[in-house]
Symmetry: D2
């Protein structure tokens, strides 16, 4: 067992939407985090006041930490203790709650879609666009700020596009996803819809896959993020899998490349943040698997504690230039783990301290 | 109950590979066929000599016809009774057996891949390229001939491309499939590979999807079939579904079209063979479904007794011009039903009679 | 196609709870019924006023009849047209609505649990206890009446116990079920609970299996039904199956029997109602399957159009006397088909006419 | 990361049947074992000579240790290096191979059924019948010996029966299992048999469940094991679950007990071996879960690293006295983990040293 710093030395974190699927994953991954400790669990009125173990229907194989089970759930009130607010809130309610937490001085790290495309809000994947984090210094929230992670199906695709875009320029990508049930939360997709079946539709998902990557792969300018110049189109399917989204990607490149070169670029991807040694950053953000039948959700979703994106089946294509398959763990790399990694980058970058210093001045 | 013509008025049909999954579907669909009667069931040495009910592990919900259950399985010897041989043989053995049946004067209607790309063998979908059937008059088999149907994942895609190709010219298509377990036969895919999982690989399938459609949509010339000029690329996945292949298709067209126009063209598709009233031809070879979450394998695979192809989710795309979703029943429309419909066209076309007449002369 | 009597010659039937899973099955099975025609579709306020095709999320592979799709859904008001009311209502609301329909003179044939154990309400399986139908003459509903069918997991078990009870006397039965997802309705069980999983609990189900069979196998007396004298205990599990409940039954008999004798009794079961030729009664209410791996939900649930109960794997047991496996289609034999068969028996028995005649007098 | 003793201080272990499902689990659990190191990997002729990573189709989410992947697979020849032989061999070949290893002086710890019921072979669950291990001193294998673990469905049931038998005397048990696909190995059950389906039959399984528990719960005497006096009967089903066998158990007790008392006895079970601190022994061999819907395979199979047996839903029963549900991880607690725990007990008990000392004398 690794030894943690004493609780008092760790940064206090509020979980917003603590009883949902993403909230549960956040709790699972924070229960022994080296930098963070959970100071408050917030959820709807319905859950507030109950011990967490009673309020939540725990759906993860990792047993719920007994000390968390006893914590009393609170409403999403910005007065709760905690300097970082990790939000797994549903988008139906996330917008105003997250804003109020930011205004109250919290660093809000959100998994919800509500603020992702806001002009001054970073849509962040630490391995891909860490520099976008600077946007938070332009936010109107005083000491508070809002940072978001992309949609669960976007993360894997963008992680694989990043080294290709750097090396060859991505001109176009056609994406077809096979997405896991957990992406829809709990209760989510009825079993009558997924046993012996596929649903070729996920509300809003194709739009997110066609827009979010352009912002993430875009350029930070004085006017905000200038979207990357690429054409994207997606078809999204729900399949009978618990966790792990597959994306079949066809990609057109601006510069010629051999298959061998593309594979090397994928394999050798080393992100800028590698030297920061963030606790949740996997040793390898991308792993290239050579077996023809890989990646598979059940076998590879947990690589790198769920934070490694697996890529395989790279082939030349007659329509666009190349095609390959990407797998990422949707509730870890695509949600809870993504948010925690964002929070880690926020802390390590020192930008949060800048906010606290600078904004204190502004306020005084 | 509909009344069948007396057995003696129906054409005798041999089933090759009678114990396999396609063989079972052939038997299911021929047990009350208006034109055909099963005269012999052929399979491997291992099964030969046993009553069919004992030799085959019947895997269909429709109960096995007791009179079929009692028929004794024979080896695949061209001397068996029967003028048409419907083959559900595995490609590992289909090549020489089918050839020997053709040489012995059988009209071989095959589901195996072995002869599909042969120069003088029609790769036939009656609603799409009925004229290609004339190729059989160029075959070197005397009174016999070989007709093939395409791979199970090809059929649905080509059926949807046909009206688009006629109306607008298909220039390119990017295809991602989500294929059912029955496509791999029995025992086929282990359940350990498909529970809570997807396999992003099906051996040989992507190649078939990139080549077969060009032959089917090609033009009959004196030199054989001139392949259609289009670029194709596919990624094929196995998903936990019993029957019904989904294909997510992105298509580039040669002539501009509105979404509305494309939908009309799909909906109003009326094949040349509509007036022939072939017993297995569905009223609608293509049905366009408007519900955003359709087509779904479990709900729509059996439309038109499994012979109707369902299309839905037509949208404009930023990469190629349009995208849509196609569903077809892989062991019916994509295999057994396809072969039977081919046999029906062969009979109705009169070409078989031509062979018999003409070749009789040649032989005499 | 079989020809139906003209609509005006058929008895008008109201569907209560028309949009739910049982409601959909009722509609599917009544759309071409020889005796009945659907005169009204009733559901909650939320659905009322909409065309049925819009109000219901149709979940069956059989396409919805277009004429039904256009019928406007009504609220559950006893003034609607119809002499028989077939109820697939949820038990949360079924009690008072069904009562009000009975009081208004409808023959209510219900699938809900609310009135099943009422003293003067028959809990009816036509092949098992047709005589219990006489209870309706003791009901306080004037021309109206209430007839119920048992819980979906009870039907199969009781059907198999009936011939054994008649022949040998059932003293005890230990039952373990493996129940399909459709038993929980739609949306019902979340897919996150059933992919790669089993839930060893179904609320209220074990109690129903321990009580309902005793009433059904009981004796009609002047004081009502005297429950059969047997000990019952059940454990109920939800498994990842769409339709078809398996019950593993161990049974203790009052009279000694050989395995061979028990099998014969199961196979040769010929119910009293066989001569009535009710339209929904299967040729064989019980089929005994000899293959060691049968019955299986996917292969055998649709036997007898879903109305045949499959039994297999009969063996002697060291604890109770015998053990065997029962399969029945839970939304057909266990719900919609059961209710329709009850309605058919009600009509054929003439008891409904008695009510109308007799009660008219009483009322005048 | 915990630090292991240097390799030279650890006991060398041969894996027999290394490429199969149980072999893979053995490797997974031994790759960082405190006492053992893998010295040889043995499998069939087909695999011999290849690096393990090539010979085996690795099916576990835990990545294969690279140093193991490079080890060359050997045939099952007793001359290989290793003092303990852990066998995951298929029963079709296990008998003579295991015997030859024992005769060559290996301590054979086997998961196969072949020698389980042999008179002088312990059928061992360390928490249940550690004393039975003394049987090995009566074996005719010189320094070698054979120890077996029970069938995967037996382990969980016996673990739950043990405290009840000690406290109240088990007179009878009726068992119905819902067993995972991995129990059949790889490729094992075809997905066409398990998607939307249940198979109510597993060859040989019901017999094992009716006999093995009596030996395990029996008494060691001079004549061998005197079987426990209890009546057992089982019905076994295969369900669409990857790992984790459910058993629904009804139990008749010799002494009266309240439900509360039975629950306490289950919860407070503390095995004799608790003080030995065997590396693979879970903190709690039995955990009693109070949530009505527990235990569930996906949520609880991994408790105690897969070695804890979960029990829940304890209720009084009208037929036998009590009923409850047991869950155990079939390829860990029911196979690989069971064998390793047996090997650990063998080492800790000192009996292996006795064999080596004593038999050396005999031999000299």
């Amino acid at each position: 067992m690794n030894h943690l710093p004493p609780s008092s030395d760790r940064i206090s974190v509020v979980i917003l939407g603590a009883t949902g699927m993403v909230g549960q994953r956040l709790i699972e991954r924070l229960s022994r985090h080296a930098w963070f400790r959970i100071s408050a669990l917030c959820a709807s009125e319905h859950s507030a006041g109950k011990p967490y173990g009673e309020a939540a229907r725990w759906r993860l194989p990792t047993p719920l930490d007994p000390s968390i089970a006893q914590m009393r759930v609170q409403t999403c009130d910005p007065d709760v203790e905690g300097t970082i607010a990790l939000s797994g809130l549903d988008s139906a309610v996330a917008g105003p709650i997250e804003r109020s937490f930011a205004e109250a001085g919290h660093a809000v790290v959100s998994n919800a879609k509500n603020h992702r495309m806001d002009r001054d809000v970073p849509l962040l994947i630490p391995e891909v666009n860490p520099g976008h984090l600077h946007l938070i210094t332009r936010q109107p929230f005083g000491r508070g700020c809002v940072v978001t992670n992309p949609n669960c199906s976007t993360v894997g695709v963008v992680m694989a596009l990043k080294p290709l875009h750097d090396a060859f320029g991505v001109e176009a990508a056609d994406i077809t996803t096979l997405q896991a049930a957990s992406g829809a939360g709990y209760p989510g997709v009825p079993s009558l819809d997924l046993i012996d079946n596929v649903i070729p539709f996920i509300d809003g998902e194709e739009e997110k896959l066609a827009t979010e990557p352009k912002k993430i792969l875009g350029t930070l300018t004085d006017q905000g993020i200038e979207a990357a110049d690429m054409r994207l189109s997606a078809q999204c399917n729900r399949v009978p899998v618990i966790d792990g989204h597959i994306a079949c990607v066809k990609v057109g490149l601006r510069r010629r490349a051999t298959r061998q070169h593309v594979e090397e670029v994928l394999q050798n991807f080393r992100p800028e943040i590698a030297d920061l040694h963030l606790p949740s950053a996997p040793d390898q953000p991308i792993i290239y698997l050579r077996d023809d039948s890989h990646p598979q959700p059940r076998l590879h979703r947990d690589l790198g504690h769920g934070m490694t994106v697996s890529v395989g089946r790279l082939q030349e294509s007659d329509v666009l230039d190349f095609k390959f398959v990407v797998l990422s763990h949707n509730t870890i790399r695509g949600a809870a783990g993504a948010a925690i990694l964002n929070a880690e980058l926020l802390v390590r970058s020192g930008l949060r301290d800048v906010l606290w210093a600078g904004k204190n001045e502004c306020r005084s």
